[in-house]
C-alpha cells in the first residue's frame, strides 16, 4: 500500500497543492517535506530488501486479461535509483527555493516525483510506460514556463522528440506481451520470443533517445540550455538516468541473448557520443551548452560501461550514473547562477569571477575537476573503473576513453580559465554575486558527495555490486 501512496499521492495531490498554496509561498515547504518522506521511504525500502531479486510491494487493479495489473516491486537497482532521485529532488527544491510562481513550480515538481517513483517501482511494463510518459508533462511545463528565451521551442521539441521515441518502446512492449503473454518484466526473461531482435532494436532506439546517445541526442542541448538550472539538474540527474536504468533493466538484462548479439551498437554509439560531445563541448562558448555536451559525453561513458555486459562494467556504469548526477548538477546550477547574475551565457564575456565569488567558484572548480576525472572525485573512480572494465572486455583500442578524458580536461580547464580566472571582465565587475543560503547549502551537499564517494567509493560500490550479483549466473555473461 505504501508504494501506491508514494506514487499516486504526489500525482493527485499536486493539483490540490497548487490550489491551496497559489497565493502563498508555502508550497516549497510542503514539497520539501514530501520529498523528505520519499527519501525516508527509499531508505526504508533499501534496508528491507532481500539479498537478491525483487521485493514485491503489492498488486493493484488485478486483471489477468491484458495483464493490466499494477505491480510494484523493487530490487537493489531500483532502490538505488529511488534514493538518488529523492536526494536530487530535495536538493533541487533547495536550489529553487526563491523561484517565482513557486506554487505552480513546486506542484509540478511534486507531480514529477510521483511519476518518476512509479517508473522505478513498477515491474509491469504497461504501467512502467504510463509513468515513463507521465514524467513528460511536468517537464514540458517546467521548461516551457520557467525556461530562458527559446523555452517554448525547447519544451515542444523535448516533448515531441521523446514522445516519438516512447511510441517505439510501447510497440516493443506490446510485441513482448503478445509473444510472452505477460507484461511482467521479471517473467519475460524466461519466455521464448518470436521476434526478439525486432523488440530489442525498438527498445534500444527508444531508450537511446532518453539517455541520450548520438545521433538521438539533439533534443537535449536545447532542453538543457533553455530549462531553468534546477530543472536541468532534474533532466541530467533523473531523466537521463531513467533512460540508462531502462537500458540496463530491459535492453540488457531482460533480453540477455539479444544484448549479447547486438551490444556492439551500444558500444559504438557510446564511443561516438563520448568523443563527439567532448569535441562539441570544446567548441562551445556558451557556458551551459558546454556543460550539456559534457553531460552527453559522460552518458556515452555510461553506455560504454554497459556495453561490456560484465559484472564490473555494469557496476561501474551505475557508479558513473550516480557520479554524473552529483557532478553535473552543481555545474548546471552554477552556470545558471552566473547567467542569472551577469545576464550572459558567453564565456568570453565572463572572467575573473573567482575574485568576486570565491566560494561558488571553488565549488565550480571541484565539480569541474570531477567532470574531467580528477583523482579523489567521483569522476575519477567512475572513469578509471569504466576504462579498466571496457579494456578488459574489448581490448586496448578503448584507450580512446582515456584520450577523451584529456579532451574533457581541455574544455573544463579552458572554461576555468575563461570564466573563473583571468582578468575580471567589465560585466563581472559590475555584477553582484550574492547567493541565497539555501542554494549555497545545496551546492555544498553536492560537493560533499563528489568528494566523499570519490575518496571512499567502496561505500557506493558495496551497494552497487550487490545489485548485479544475482545476475552473474545468467546466460549472456551478465
Amino acid at each position: 500500500m505504501s508504494a501506491l501512496i508514494v506514487v499516486f499521492f504526489p500525482i493527485f495531490f499536486s493539483f490540490l497543492l497548487y490550489v491551496i498554496t497559489e497565493k502563498t509561498n508555502i508550497a516549497r515547504f510542503v514539497a520539501l517535506t514530501l520529498f523528505l518522506g520519499m527519501f525516508g521511504e527509499s531508505i526504508f525500502l533499501y534496508f528491507h530488501l532481500p539479498q537478491s531479486g525483487f521485493m514485491s510491494l503489492g498488486h493493484f487493479l488485478e486483471i489477468d486479461y491484458f495483464d493490466f495489473t499494477l505491480t510494484f516491486a523493487v530490487d537493489k537497482l531500483s532502490v538505488i535509483m529511488l534514493v538518488l532521485t529523492s536526494i536530487l529532488l530535495l536538493l533541487v527544491t533547495l536550489s529553487s527555493w526563491h523561484i517565482e510562481k513557486s506554487s505552480a513550480y513546486f506542484s509540478l515538481l511534486v507531480f514529477f516525483s510521483g511519476a518518476i517513483f512509479g517508473v522505478f517501482m513498477s515491474t509491469n511494463l504497461l504501467w512502467f510506460f504510463i509513468f515513463w510518459e507521465l514524467t513528460l508533462i511536468p517537464m514540458y511545463f517546467l521548461i516551457g514556463i520557467w525556461g530562458a528565451e527559446e523555452r517554448v521551442y525547447a519544451a515542444v521539441k523535448f516533448f515531441l522528440y521523446t514522445h516519438v521515441a516512447s511510441m517505439l518502446i510501447l510497440l516493443a512492449f506490446f510485441l513482448l506481451h503478445k509473444q510472452s503473454g505477460t507484461f511482467d518484466m521479471t517473467l519475460i526473461k524466461e519466455s521464448v520470443l518470436v521476434t526478439p531482435a525486432l523488440i530489442w532494436w525498438l527498445l534500444f532506439v527508444g531508450f537511446a533517445v532518453k539517455m541520450p546517445l548520438f545521433p538521438f541526442h539533439t533534443w537535449l542541448p536545447d532542453a538543457h540550455v533553455q530549462a531553468p538550472a534546477p530543472v536541468s539538474v532534474l533532466l541530467a540527474g533523473v531523466l537521463l538516468k531513467m533512460g540508462a536504468y531502462a537500458m540496463i533493466r530491459m535492453v540488457l538484462l531482460m533480453l540477455p541473448h539479444q544484448a549479447q548479439k547486438y551490444v556492439w551498437i551500444l558500444l559504438l554509439l557510446g564511443v561516438i557520443s563520448l568523443v563527439y560531445s567532448a569535441f562539441m563541448a570544446l567548441y562551445e562558448t556558451h557556458l551551459k551548452k558546454m556543460v550539456a555536451y559534457s553531460s552527453i559525453s559522460h552518458m556515452g561513458l555510461v553506455a560504454i560501461a554497459m556495453a561490456t555486459l560484465s559484472y564490473d562494467g555494469l557496476s561501474s556504469a551505475v557508479y558513473e550514473m550516480i557520479g554524473h548526477a552529483f557532478i553535473i548538477a552543481p555545474l548546471f546550477l552554477i552556470a545558471g547562477f552566473f547567467h542569472h547574475k551577469t545576464g550572459s551565457w558567453q564565456m568570453q564575456e565572463m572572467g575573473g569571477i573567482m575574485q568576486k565569488a570565491p566560494y561558488i567558484s571553488l565549488i565550480f572548480i571541484i565539480a569541474g575537476l570531477g567532470a574531467l576525472g580528477f583523482p579523489a572525485t567521483m569522476g575519477f573512480v567512475g572513469e578509471i573503473s569504466i576504462l579498466i572494465s571496457s579494456i578488459e572486455k574489448y581490448g586496448l583500442w578503448l584507450i580512446v576513453v582515456a584520450f577523451t578524458s584529456m579532451l574533457s580536461a581541455s574544455y573544463i580547464i579552458w572554461t576555468f580559465r575563461r570564466v573563473i580566472y583571468g582578468s575580471m571582465s567589465i560585466l563581472v565587475e559590475k555584477t553582484d554575486f550574492s547567493i541565497s543560503k539555501m542554494e549555497f547549502f545545496a551546492l555544498i551537499i553536492f560537493t560533499f558527495f563528489i568528494i566523499v564517494f570519490g575518496v571512499y567509493p567502496q561505500a557506493l560500490f558495496s551497494i552497487i555490486n550487490d545489485t548485479f550479483s544475482s545476475y552473474t549466473s545468467l546466460g549472456g555473461g551478465v
Binding site: 507521465l134 508533462i137 514556463i145 519544451a155 515542444v156 514522445h163 516519438v164 511510441m167 506490446f174 510485441l175
Partner: protein, 437 residues
Amino acid sequence: MSPFTFLFGMALLSFAITNVAILKRVAIWSFIGSIVLVIFGFTTPLYTFSASEGVLLFEIIVFIVLGAIVLSEDETITITQTLFIASASILLLESTTLLSFIVSFELMSILSFILVSNIHNAKEAEGAIKMFIAGSVATAILFLGATLYIFSQNSLDSAIAEHLNGFGIVGVCLMLVALFYKLTIVPMHTWAADSYVELRPLEAGLLSGVVKTVVLVATFKFFSAFVLENISFTSPIFITLALITMSLGNILALFQKRVTKILAYSSIAHAGYMLLGFVAVASTYASDGVLYMAIAYIFMQSAVFVLLDKLSFGKGDILLIDLYAFAKKDKWSALFLSVQLFSLAGIPLLAGFLAKAVMVYAVVDAGFTIVALITLLNSALSVGYYAWIIKHIYFDTQESSYLFEKLTKPSYITQIILVLGTLYFGVFATTILGITL
C-alpha cells in the same frame, strides 16, 4: 419499462415543457432513471433488440455524458434533442437484425438533422446544410446497399449473414460506406471538417462525441462477424482507410488556425484510430479496443466542444491566437481544456491513452505490426498540435483581446463530471477490459 420507452416518453413529454429550469430537471432525472433501469436489467422487449454487457455499460456512459451536457445547457430544443438522441442510441446499440439496425440508424440520422436545424446564423445554416446533404447521400447509399443485400438474402429479419454471394458482399460494403459517412472516414469526411466548425460547438460535440461513438459501437457490433469472415479482402481496405484517415486528419490539423477546425480534424484522425477495430477484428481485443475508444472519446470530445461552446457563446470562432495566455484569464477552464487535450493526445493516466493502447494492442495481436507502428507515430504527430494549443494557453505571456465568457456553476459541474470520466477510465481499465460487446 424499458429504458428506451421511458426516455422516448420523457422526450415526447418534454415538448410540453417550456420552462428551461424544469425541463433541465426532467431531462437529468430521466437520464438518472434510465441508468437505474439499465442497471436493474430492464431491456427493450422486442426480439430484434438485445443488449450485451458492453452495450449496457456504454449506454450508461452515454446517459452520464448527455446528462452532464444538459446540466449546463439553456436551450430547450437542445435539451429535448439530447433525450431523443439517447433513446435512439439505445435502439441502435441494441439492434440485432438488419431492419431494426436500419430503422434505428435512420432515426438517429433524422434526430441529428433536427438537432442541427436549430439555426442562429448563416454560418450555422451552412454547416447544417452540409451535414444534411452528406447525411442524405449516406442514407441513399445505405438503402442501396440494404436493397442489394436483401435481394441476395431474401431476409431483413436477421443479422448480417457470414456467408454471402457477390450481391450480398457488395450490399454490405455499400452499407459500410454509408456508415463511414457518419464516422467521418476519409474520403467520406469532407462534410465533417466544415460542419463541426460551422455548427454551434455544442451540437458539433454531440455529433462528433456522442452520435459518432454510438454509430461506431453499433456498426462494429453489427458488422464485425461479416468483416471477420471476409478478412482476406476486408483487411487491406480497412488498413488503407484507417491509415489514410488518421494521417490526413493529423497532418491537416497541424496547419489550422481555428481551434474548432483543429478539433474537427482531430476528430477525423480519431475516426482512423476507431477503424482499427475492424482491422484487428481477428483479435479478441478488438471489441475491447472499440468499446474503450468509444467510451474515452465520448468524454474527451464532448468535454472539449462543450467547453468551447460555453467560452465562446455568441462570440464567434476561437482562433489559436485567442488562446494566448488563456491560463491567466481563466485557470480552471484552461485546466479542463488541457486535461482533455492531453487525453486526446494519448497521454497516460487519461482515458485517451488506454483507449489507444488497447486498440493498438489489438492491431499488434492481429499481426499487423507495421500498422501499429504507423498508428503510434501518428499519435505522436498529433501531440504536435495538442501540445501547441496547450503551449498557447500556458506559455505565451501576451494576453489576447478575446473576451471569453465566464463559466457558470453548472458548466463547472459538467466539466468536472467529464474530467472525472476521463481520469477514471484512464486508470480503471478493469471496468471495460474483457467485457463482451
